[in-house]
């Protein structure tokens, strides 16, 4: 595990998501008991009450649920200043019950639209991703 400072602010149960991405895997949490997909990850299934959580591997493929093209960033995202303008996405993952993960789009934007099919590339830790390994998305050619 890298020694980077982990970001607070979420539920705080997504460490295995980041560790998987460092290994080149996309894993989403799922209740071991009732099989409900959980994203963001949690420590307990609010549906059935189980404390047992599985991390299931899925393919890094999905569709653009929504997107924006960013032309400005605040001080909090200063590392992205040089990338402006850039496109960020919410990607819907059909293999994880429609869970939506955040990501950055790379490559050709010609077919960028809600519903476009995207595939993820595993990217190593960078300053712009605050030291985290991430999945960067591109639109599939036949979209």
């Amino acid at each position: 595990m890298s020694s980077i400072q982990r970001i607070r602010g979420g539920i705080g149960a997504d460490e295995d998501y980041w560790l998987a991405i460092e290994r080149g895997e996309l894993r989403i949490s799922r209740c071991a008991h009732c099989r409900k997909w959980m994203w963001p990850a949690n420590v307990r299934c609010g549906d059935c009450g189980s404390w047992e959580i599985d991390w299931e591997r899925i393919e890094p493929v999905g569709t653009v649920y929504t997107w924006t093209r960013n032309h400005a960033v605040s001080e909090v995202l200063a590392e992205r200043q040089a990338d402006l303008p850039y496109v960020t996405l919410l990607v819907e993952l059909p293999q994880a019950g429609g869970a939506r993960v955040a990501g950055v789009l790379e490559g050709n934007e010609e077919h960028l639209r809600i519903g476009a099919r995207v595939r993820g590339r595993f990217a190593g830790p960078e300053e712009r991703s605050k030291g985290y390994a991430t999945i960067v998305w591109h639109i599939e050619e036949d979209a």
Binding site: G10, D14, P40, H71, E75, V76, S129, Y132
Partner: protein, 387 residues
């Protein structure tokens, strides 16, 4: 049924001038004191008699810090409502509940911001409350996530993008009659709106709220006590806070996705107050970004997504003639932004009849809290006739 309806009233209001962020001559603490003392003077109440303090978000000027400067006789109640702009009507609700439960008699609800004493609001908010998957992917707490939600509202729900422009122009229109508004003297034309730079598509610069230095405060007492004070009371009718089963902190996996979290709150507010969207005379609709306020109007049931193009038009939203005048002091976009607290002051002005964009005979005055907060709140306030 137990209820807060009509049990308490806002009897004092005040705000400091809005300063350009980072330029307040006073510290944040002094701004908070100035607003609270002025609200007490407005109410005819000795500031030493304020025994309860409620704020929201990342307010740093706590009750215990304010006590020595106010000369508080006895501090009996203090609380902070969770989340950001979503916490404003909720803070009033906390204050009202404390009064009704006998835990305090005179409660100040307030918010103070001064960049020189603190850090930029958007930095404070983003750094402390943004999940990793957003920050590592170039997305901050509010701007980009709101922009993405608004895109879906437009492209999937079919809400016309012209509604965003209408929201912005309404705020600037109202600011022209408000000498204290930051945008007073600066009208927003369609040409200027469309020519302004893109920030996060579909948001132009004019779709985004400001940040100012300043403070605003209101004073709440029991309805019984309010009747003996000098100002026309603005009674608290309903101030629900919360989130639905599919809401809360779900990192944009909430459902329905387009919603800004107000659907269930509005249902509770109409039920508790006994009123509905058609009864509201005037509303302050918190706009961090225009598109989020558009969805807030839809969530509250003023119109559906399909009707939004007809309802959310400039002519329909301006005082005094529109069917639903909104953001009548200029709102967060054009009046100024002290984390939305100025809107609560304007809610009361409308009931008193003292707004610079007065809706004639306004009795029912609403404020929607910050749209899209993972927990938010909304509120309906009324004159004595509405009880």
């Amino acid at each position: 049924m137990r209820s807060l309806r009509g049990q308490t009233a806002i009897v004092g209001i005040a705000q400091t001038p809005y300063y350009k962020r980072g330029t307040s001559p006073d510290s944040e603490m002094k701004l908070a004191l100035r607003a609270i003392v002025a609200a007490c003077e407005d109410a005819g109440i000795d500031p030493r008699d304020v025994d309860g303090f409620v704020s929201y978000g990342s307010e740093n000027n706590t009750a215990q810090k304010l006590l020595p400067g106010l000369g508080t006789r006895e501090l009996r109640f203090g609380a902070l409502a969770w989340t950001h702009g979503g916490g404003i009507p909720a803070a009033v609700g906390v204050a009202a509940a404390a009064i009704q439960a006998g835990q305090a008699d005179v409660v100040a609800v307030y918010r103070a911001l001064a960049e020189g004493s603190n850090q930029r609001l958007r930095v404070a908010v983003t750094q402390n409350d943004t999940p990793a998957q957003f920050l590592v992917n170039g997305i901050d707490m509010v701007l980009q996530r709101s922009a993405m939600r608004t895109r879906r509202m437009i492209e999937v729900d079919g809400v016309p993008p012209e509604t965003l422009e209408a929201l912005a122009k309404v705020s600037y229109h109202h600011a022209q009659n408000n000498p204290g508004a930051v945008a007073h003297g600066r009208m927003l034309t369609s040409e200027a709106y469309h020519a302004s730079r893109m920030i996060s598509e579909p948001y132009h610069l004019y779709d985004c709220s400001r940040e100012n230095d300043g403070a605003a405060a209101i004073i709440l007492v029991s309805a019984e006590r309010a009747r003996d004070l000098k100002q026309t009371p603005a009674y608290v009718l309903s101030v629900p806070m919360g989130a639905s089963h599919d809401g809360g902190s779900r990192e944009d996996n909430h459902e329905p996705y387009s919603s800004v979290g107000m659907i269930g709150l509005a249902r509770r507010m109409w039920a508790e107050s006994g009123y509905g969207p058609k009864d509201v005379d005037v509303a302050q609709i918190y706009e961090n970004f225009t598109g989020m306020a558009v969805q807030s109007i839809i969530d509250h049931g003023f119109c559906t997504a399909a009707e939004a193009g007809d309802f959310i038009r400039f002519d329909n939203l301006i005082a005094p003639s529109g069917a639903l005048p909104i953001n009548t002091s200029g709102g967060n976009l054009a009046d100024g932004f002290i984390h939305g607290m100025g809107m609560m002051v304007e809610v009361v002005r409308q009931i008193r009849g003292t707004s610079t964009n007065q809706v004639p005979g306004a009795k029912l005055s609403m404020m929607a809290g910050g749209p899209g907060d993972s927990m938010t709140s909304t509120g309906l306030f009324g004159s004595a006739e509405t009880l």
